[in-house]
Symmetry: C2
Subunit: 148 residues, 2 copies
């Protein structure tokens, strides 16, 4: 098994604002993909994220407001099946720290390398959304390679 791990710090005093950006349709659409359908504020609910070439359905499998969010991949690319995405939020001085984990990849395939870098870029989009009011969700996301 292999995992993608990231850490960003968002300059804000409101952990609730960050939690909202992970658990509401408008929040998620503001940093990941503007084609987001579904709220993420109930355990068991499904959120549909669509991108140019495909997308993911996430099942909300854990919530502990305002510090923890867990998603299980319900639909998506073969390599994403049976993986879990874990969000932990905490305050540290002037920052809300986001510890991100995309857990349980079967193999460290080349697509996992791509997704790791792309997650970092989208986390910076989340940071920008909270700090400036404007993120860079798909389709205005920062491109990293020939897979986008």
């Amino acid at each position: 098994m292999a995992d993608i791990l990231h850490r960003i710090g968002i300059k804000t005093s409101s952990i609730d604002d960050v939690y909202q950006a992970l658990t509401t349709e408008s929040g998620l659409a503001g940093w990941w993909t503007n084609n987001t359908q579904g709220e993420g504020n109930q355990v068991g609910s499904i959120i549909k994220f669509r991108f140019g070439a495909g997308g993911f359905d996430m099942k909300v499998s854990g919530l502990n407001k305002p510090t923890h969010v867990v998603w299980e991949v319900a639909e998506g690319p073969e390599e994403w099946m049976d993986t879990t995405i874990n969000w932990e939020l905490k305050q540290d001085g002037d920052y809300i720290i986001v510890l991100f984990k995309h857990l349980n990849w079967k193999e460290p395939v080349e697509f996992m390398h791509h997704c790791s870098t792309k997650w970092a870029i989208f986390l910076m989009s989340l940071k920008s959304l909270i700090e400036t009011g404007k993120g860079t969700p798909d389709p205005v996301d920062v491109k990293i390679d020939n897979w986008n």
Copy 2:
């Protein structure tokens, strides 16, 4: 053991330009830290990278021009000791693909989460250096959190 993996695609036809950016003092200073001392073009050589708060000494342990570069961490933070950094370059259409691996972390500590995100940011700086002639090395690097 835990690994950091990334993939970027640099829009250039010159794999040599990317290899140079990983194996020369001026190249490395252009995207990682402007306080870089030492060339990376000989197996066994040491490159010293310094940042505001500290730094790393890398021993070049493998070179296969222009597709592979391997560094072993010779000095650095405790968590970096005995880790290895692996660069693989290959052409794919209009891009030179960089597969990056920072291997053999003992534990997936919070600092590893930070380094994973920060590596993505520095890889985007490498991409920018080659594509536009200008990277964002320390101290003008993009800040990601309260650890910088």
